[in-house]
Symmetry: C2
Subunit: 159 residues, 2 copies
Amino acid sequence: MLRLNRQTDYGIMILTCLVREDDKAMPPRLLSAPEIATASGLALPNVSKILKALVRGGILQSRRGVQGGYQLSRLPADISIQQIITALDGPISMTDCAGEGPEQCDVSSLCPMSANWKYINDKIVETLESITLEQMAIPGGVLAAANNDSDSTRNPEGE
Amino acid sequence: MLRLNRQTDYGIMILTCLVREDDKAMPPRLLSAPEIATASGLALPNVSKILKALVRGGILQSRRGVQGGYQLSRLPADISIQQIITALDGPISMTDCAGEGPEQCDVSSLCPMSANWKYINDKIVETLESITLEQMAIPGGVLAAANNDSDSTRNPEGE
DNA sequence: CAAATCAGGACCAAAGTGGTCCCCTTTTGG
DNA sequence: CCAAAAGGGGACCACTTTGGTCCTGATTTG
């Protein structure tokens, strides 16, 4: 089915919640895990686990202690879906052939597909890299961006 | 990791073997499961399972009985990677949101992402639909096709 | 009728995923 | 200086999925 795992799905949902919260409170403040759990409607332990992974992946910044919490480490327009998927699900690699490492197929003599898989993999990464969290956070945002600017993948100053 | 399962990987490998065998024996003959297992270097029971699924998915045709076997049901240029993946791994659907059925997110009120996911999903299906088995069967075939036919080529210095 | 061959599905071990919990460190404020 | 509020890092386990094999039945040929 080529499905990304539920943690990743939730993670993107959580991040879109953060974007909307930031829009509300313009001097963006830190949100604690319990607050984010409430806002997203998900269970706290799970939300907490996902938030930690997003920090490790460089998507979020955190502060400990009383009044601590999480915030985006970059503008929503500078965070791609690809980066989020990589943070929560590891690097995209459709097959072993398509991966980065030295893990060759053991049947590489029979397999002329390696370069082809790499190309396909790159194409998909490219697609996911071109979608930003900012677009994802508004209904129809991805489609609108695709219509407005069908050539270049990123627009300099959003909206 | 967004990886397709091993059956699918093997399936595509098997099909590229079939393409090459067809090229050898120009009046394309039926190949039995044991022959295909030998040609592909995979274990017979597993190859057999995959071949059956490919028949069910309309990629292969089969004939039973003595001298029976399998052959492609269309020309390699008319079989897309997308069709093969669908036959072996079900329809592509990155998230529940992106699926076809009436399976709405239960939190759809909080979730403006549904249309966005569908768009992303379509984009990936489109990519995989544009790659043919014929291209996949020759080393560098996909890249060559992409260079020749630059319908929507991205920046060459993209990397 | 026997042999070859595909069809369908049962079955099980192994791996992966999802979700929760625990204990530790950091920070703030009385 | 200590207690409370928060995040950090894993361990842990139940559940599902996947990978692979095998068995039984249906077709076809000679």
